[in-house]
């Protein structure tokens, strides 16, 4: 049986133009990697939107990061002031990572 370690799965929903900025913060707290997923469409209090738009300014993405508890905490502390002004949606869940000691 392979051994797993418990880590945090951080999911940040963010406007696509802001992705590099969030990743800049993630690097500051030394998170080892990230993956970006495009959102096709969505809706919220501000109305609905679709990705099929010529102006990328309205596009949204999810940034996915696996990190240990400490780094996850540092990242949320760093991003907290931006949550409202940049309308981020930040969720954290527990996951088992197989042989994930490097995170």
């Amino acid at each position: 049986m392979v051994d797993t370690v418990q880590r945090k799965r951080i999911e940040i929903l963010v406007d696509t133009p802001l992705v590099p900025k969030i990743i800049g913060y993630a690097k500051q707290v030394d998170i080892s990697g990230w993956s970006v997923i495009k959102i096709a469409s969505g809706g919220g209090r501000e109305g609905r939107w679709h990705h099929d738009e010529i102006t990328g300014a309205a596009a949204k993405s999810i940034i996915l990061m696996i990190a240990n508890k400490e780094k996850a905490q540092q990242l949320t502390d760093a991003l907290a002031p931006l949550l409202d002004s940049h309308s981020l949606l930040l969720t954290i869940a527990n996951v088992e990572v197989v042989r994930g000691d490097r995170f």
Partner: protein, 324 residues
């Protein structure tokens, strides 16, 4: 000219898109296809402009137009800012963001105007493509400075510090559409008419047809933006029509004063009247994330863009002819 405009297929496709979205049809142009068309259109106008300048040579007109364009880009947002704050009742941050859009330019409005003016027999000079590229960015700086000067909230923190991993000035100067437009312009200039000949078929044959399909998409996007907004008041909607009229008239007058031919003066007016909906929104999301995209996209894309396509271009052409 209004009648001619409204029955040309290019404009009819825009209207088709607009109506399709208005009846909530699911017609959609894939995003990658729309981007491909915009790359094609920018490469085509850049190349043609460069080839033309290669044959006519650099002129004093070119320099005058370029300098005027940049100065207009820097100054037009100021008037817009104060109108948006007083009449439009926007806060400093939103007013700064919106004014940056109106100081910058819309490539598709420019291309459509070139087509319509050419049909009218007042074809603008090739170098105006270069002027357009130079006008994309100055307004961003003015808009940010205004927001920062008048917002209590931004005064406390540093609005131009966009955090780690990003650098606004760099984004602004290396913006994809600026690089592509100027790059294609320079390639056209180096290649000249002879070097351009082998690749000309693609950029000639497809041009107007692609513009039709692209405007179909723009119609869909503009109408959806307008329908889904909950942010645009009657006052803001009024400004989204008044601002292009003011800016466009000023641009056309300046163009005439510096000695441009009527077509080029009209296109300078169109550039001033048009509002950005690609480069500036992305820059604002980064530099002024507190500003509400719902406002600036609905105004520039939902109202000003259709207004210019349907009426503005004809208006500035008439003014330029009258003055010229």
């Amino acid at each position: 000219m209004i009648i001619e405009t409204l029955t040309s297929p290019v404009i009819l496709f825009f209207i088709l898109g607009f109506l399709a979205a208005a009846i909530r049809s699911d017609l959609a142009i894939p995003e990658a296809f729309a981007k491909a068309m915009s790359i094609y259109l920018m490469a085509a106008i850049g190349l043609k402009g460069g080839v033309e300048v290669a044959s006519t040579g650099f002129s004093i007109d070119l320099a005058a137009a370029a300098i005027s364009g940049i100065l207009l880009g820097f100054t037009l947002p100021i008037l817009a800012f104060f109108m948006l704050r007083s009449f439009g009742k926007l806060g400093a941050i939103d007013a700064g963001a919106v004014s940056a859009h109106y100081g910058s330019v819309s490539v598709v409005t420019f291309v459509t105007a070139i087509e319509l003016l050419t049909v009218q027999g007042i074809r603008p000079d090739g170098f105006m493509v270069g002027v357009m590229a130079l006008m994309e960015m100055p307004a961003i700086i003015t808009g940010l400075l205004l927001a920062r000067a008048y917002s209590q909230r931004l005064k406390s923190d540093n609005s131009l510090d966009t955090g780690p991993g990003t650098n606004l000035m760099h984004e602004v100067l290396t913006n994809g559409s600026v690089v592509l437009l100027l790059g294609a312009f320079i390639i056209g200039f180096i290649a000249g008419a002879e070097g351009f000949a082998p690749i000309k078929p693609l950029f000639d044959v497809g041009f107007k047809g692609v513009l039709c399909l692209f405007l179909l998409d723009m119609g869909l996007i503009a109408a959806r933006r307008l329908l889904e907004t909950r942010k645009v008041t009657i006052r803001l909607a009024t400004l989204a029509i008044v601002l292009p009229i003011i800016n466009g008239t000023m641009g056309t007058i300046v163009g005439t004063l510096i000695g441009l031919d009527p077509g080029s003066a009209a296109i300078l007016g169109v550039l001033c009247a048009s509002a950005s909906y690609i480069a500036v929104p992305a820059a604002m999301r980064l530099a002024l994330p507190q500003a509400d995209p719902g406002i600036y996209l609905a105004m520039s894309l939902g109202i000003t863009f259709p207004f210019n396509i349907l009426f503005g271009i004809s208006l500035f052409a008439a003014i330029a002819k009258f003055l010229g």
